[in-house]
Symmetry: C2
Subunit: 343 residues, 2 copies
DNA sequence: TTGAAAGCGCTACCAA
DNA sequence: TTGGTAGCGCTTTCAA
């Protein structure tokens, strides 16, 4: 005999509520999900819920509905200010829509990124926003057969049928060069980050574009590469200053720019009087540095917002055509790049 | 007739695998979970899994096992560098242990914090690390009957049976004052953050402790309060400098300290020659500011690590006694507080 | 509008 | 060691 086990200590389930309210579990479920129900039934269920302290079990609900109410964001490293800005943008939008946010730090590991994509068919999230460092063929493959909607922040190969938010730093860098030239700068140095990445290449090309537009030639001794750190920026600036006399330095990152500022200070070069400095990403660091740093904003916050909204749209309508959104870089001018005062 | 529906397009389940391998679903489950099984069975199941492209459904698994493989971290605002440091510390530890990390930003809203605690009995996570702004009676109540293990980062009332990582900024501030006095400073100002919080009060008390230890009296005109922003710090410094001549400023936060640096620069006061400056939290900002900022480290990263480890221990053994860990603040000395050079 | 019942995909019990 | 099967807690037909 399948006796009605009273489950004395157990936490309440729909059954418990149904018994307390004197209705069926189906009715309880209907009330809980706001389906058409009699006023009286609603009242009784509500009371019973309060009385027994019932809370829905999300695993059981997910199993039935095939929805988790969760969304993941995957990026290389949340310590990076740009990714942090994205998280700050994404979180409130998802939360507002009733989703919980799950974080994946991939440590700049391509294999990890692929793994995140594959793991989607464990169905622990309803969707994913990913910010890949590079997009390999494997990425595209996995993206195409991902088990849930995915929004990519970054450059995607043409024809990849995935929602996408993109930005190209190239014109941003070119514009910054124009700004420096307009301000009377003649010898503009570039401190770039790693160049074997898509953004690294874009920045370099933007630099060349800018020089060309100003009718200038590239001078190899004005270009340095390094990793993204204050020390890296300081050292790169030293290398350049040892062999050349730039009157402006463009750095691939605010962190690098701060390093450059330190070197300039050590050498008693005044910013912006002797040397102008421009950073990139427009992070908090740019605003708090001294002098305040002109910076090329890559709109991380906006990109995060757009990606989150794109994902919500996709979740609401899985059949809509993939949408690609492009964001323009923006030059945020501060004191560090003021025009030279004619002597 | 309950015909064996072939589910042609459906994604593979244990059933699909069982059929492909010619074994029972029970055997599939056993292999998947590493329980004792025949070598041959293991092989066949593995092959079948690969062949049909099977992946476990996490909702179904959670429903049975009552475990989610997820842990949440709740804090006021991930934009705050201290919380960010905690996330960076917590994430790899949980990940290593096979847990996914869920993020809750409560926007410094007490009701939200309570809600997070209550929502635990939806069972969408196996545990929670929370960093409350204040701990009210409601908090304690909810903590005591939380549906999953919770680790609190912050001050908990004595007797609250919950794992806890704590730090008291008070002795840290007192030590910083001693450091300034040792460096020859006589008029030490305090720019505090909001004082109606536990940390705000602690900092003020630490300031008084420090003065007393040095045989000094508090002078009201040397103390200001403001919100945590660069502008707030700058303005507070102006107010103090308008009515007094401090030779040192202690700020409740690196952000505030940077604001103070800006004001000092405007007034042509040299740091550290004329005025020493000390910040708090020892964030990236302290290291990149000019001059590099002495800062009281509240060890956010370490606290995050400890909390994560405490939670893992609790998850492994729910019956162990609650553990309280205390972390000591640490003074990180940089150029901004160098001793006065005797004229 | 309601209740009975099927079953989401999985694990774990029990008997063989 | 294995397979049959009950059932985790919920939603959603289907008939009444």
């Amino acid at each position: 005999m399948p006796a009605q086990r009273p489950r004395p200590g157990g936490r309440p389930t729909v059954r418990t509520v149904a018994e307390a309210a004197g209705v069926s579990v189906a009715s309880v479920s209907r009330v809980l999900n706001g389906l058409t129900t009699n006023e009286e039934t609603i009242r009784r269920v509500r009371e019973a819920v309060a009385k027994v302290g019932y809370v829905q079990d999300s695993a059981a609900r997910s199993l039935k509905t095939r929805q988790t109410g969760q969304v993941a964001f995957a990026m290389a490293d949340i310590g990076n200010a740009a990714y942090l800005a994205m998280v700050r943008a994404i979180q409130p939008i998802l939360r507002e829509a009733g989703y919980r946010l799950l974080l994946h730090s991939t440590d700049a590991d391509i294999a990890d990124e692929i793994e995140v994509l594959r793991s989607l068919n464990q169905r622990y999230v309803d969707g994913l926003i990913i910010c890949p460092l590079r997009v390999t063929e494997r990425h595209v493959e996995e993206l195409e057969q991902a088990a849930t909607p995915v929004v990519v922040i970054g450059q995607l190969p043409a024809g990849c049928p995935v929602d996408n938010v993109r930005i190209d730093s190239r014109p941003g860098v070119a514009r910054a060069i124009a700004h420096l030239v307009d301000g009377g700068r003649r010898q503009i140095a570039l401190i770039n980050g790693p160049v074997d990445t898509v953004p690294g290449r874009s920045r370099y090309l933007g630099y060349l574009d800018g020089l060309r537009a100003a009718g200038k030639e590239e001078r190899r001794e004005l270009v340095a590469f390094t990793d993204f750190s204050v020390e890296g920026g300081a050292k790169a600036a030293q290398e350049i200053l040892d062999v050349a006399e730039p009157d402006a330095i463009l750095a691939a990152n605010d962190i690098l720019a701060v390093g450059a500022l330190q070197t300039l200070r050590q050498r008693n070069l005044k910013v912006p009087d002797d040397v102008a400095v421009v950073g990139m990403d427009d992070t908090e660091l740019a605003a708090t540095a001294w002098p305040p740093l002109t910076s090329i904003s890559l709109r991380a916050y906006e990109r995060g917002q757009l990606a989150a909204r794109l994902l919500l749209k996709r979740l609401a309508d899985p059949d809509r055509a993939p949408e690609w959104v492009t964001v323009e870089p923006q030059l945020v001018v501060r004191a560090s790049s003021a025009a030279v005062t004619t002597p």
